[in-house]
Symmetry: C2
Subunit: 223 residues, 2 copies
């Protein structure tokens, strides 16, 4: 099994597929490396391929007319992105993508992949599942942005990240990027963390946050 096939297999999107399918996909895939801060594509660029992150982190963001930037998503190892663009009318990327650090990824050619789809039901199943999951996540985000205030969103984010990570959160990006992802300013993010720390709910050490009192966080979320 080639290296590309192994890397593909690690992504949920390609889970449970036969080796033959993986081999086919690997056929129109090649690996890419990005340096910290290096752009991958811009909003409006013609869509030709989508990606799997192998190591590092990619940030997806949108630029407002005012020059402000909003981080839509932060993609980590094993995750795919831009696969939804395959099925959209105007074949253009809708967001900007750039590496937050040195990042390795696989680029999967859209054309070849598209041809595979109709003959591989399992593949379309996985795709539908992936899109549905992202959809659900976005609905959650929209709800949080309107129903929760800054503190609530930060707490929600911390609890979600701590899930299955043993009460320790490793922020996947600079705090300013996380703040943008949460729809708040860096200053507000800092203040909220400060308040949570003073309340004894968390401990902060650089980009590591330890959840000290999970129950108190839940209470704050409900308040």
């Amino acid at each position: 099994m080639s290296e590309a096939m192994e890397q593909l297999g690690r992504a949920p999107l390609f889970r449970n597929l036969g080796e033959d399918v993986l081999a086919e996909i690997a056929g129109f895939t090649h690996s890419r490396s990005l340096d910290r801060g290096e752009p991958l594509f811009q909003a409006g660029d013609p869509f030709r391929s989508f990606f799997v992150v192998n190591s590092g982190h990619i940030q997806l963001s949108r630029l407002a007319s005012t020059g402000h930037e909003k981080v839509v998503e932060i993609i980590g190892p094993g995750e795919t992105f831009a696969e939804a663009v395959l099925f959209m009318d105007g074949k253009k990327y809708p967001v900007d993508a750039r590496a937050l650090e040195a990042t390795e990824l696989l680029e999967i050619g859209a054309e070849g992949f598209n041809h595979l789809l109709d003959s591989r039901p399992g593949l379309t199943r996985n795709l539908l599942g992936a899109l549905s999951k992202r959809l659900h996540q976005l609905v959650q985000d929209v709800a949080a942005l309107t129903l929760e205030d800054a503190t609530g969103r930060v707490v929600g984010y911390l609890l979600a990240q701590a899930e299955g990570a043993g009460g320790e959160v490793h922020l996947p990006a600079k705090k300013a990027a996380i703040a943008s992802r949460l729809g708040i300013q860096p200053e507000t993010f800092s203040r909220v963390l400060g308040r949570l720390r003073e309340a004894g709910a968390i401990e902060v050490e650089g980009d590591r946050i330890r959840i000290r009192d999970s129950e108190r966080l839940q209470e704050i979320l409900k308040a």
Copy 2:
């Protein structure tokens, strides 16, 4: 061609499908009527079917722990909803759905539909397209919620609704519901409309809004 088949065919989700496929789908479909305000399902209910709106409007909303309600989406004639739940892990509806007015819809059984999928590539194509479109829409919403202020969101909404409607917008629901959809309070919505009216950009008559000065609106959006 049965009535159900015709109604199905009007939805973009079932566009470009052979009559044989439509007939099969119609086989596990039955129509339902809802009165104004009547609930269709609640968040957490087990998922058994998804829906096509035939006439009227359905509101999808989420309830926060504080009791506040956020309108996620307002679904009109020809549109489908809850189809994404088909592919999610925990087969439960993630939102509440209820009729905003007397509404006719088709209920499509999940099990039967699911069986059809693997043998009908065209159907999965349509599904992938529909999910991608919704995904893109949600990304837009998230961006608007964080990048635009209340005025910007209202203007964006009006321009989007007026698209192809000849500069006249017919609000599909009570203003309070629209406001929630836009992530603002009813009072704020009212005030923003008032300001736009005073600026001569729009005219408001109940639930009808005429765009009087589209350019000025675009400017406000960019300001």
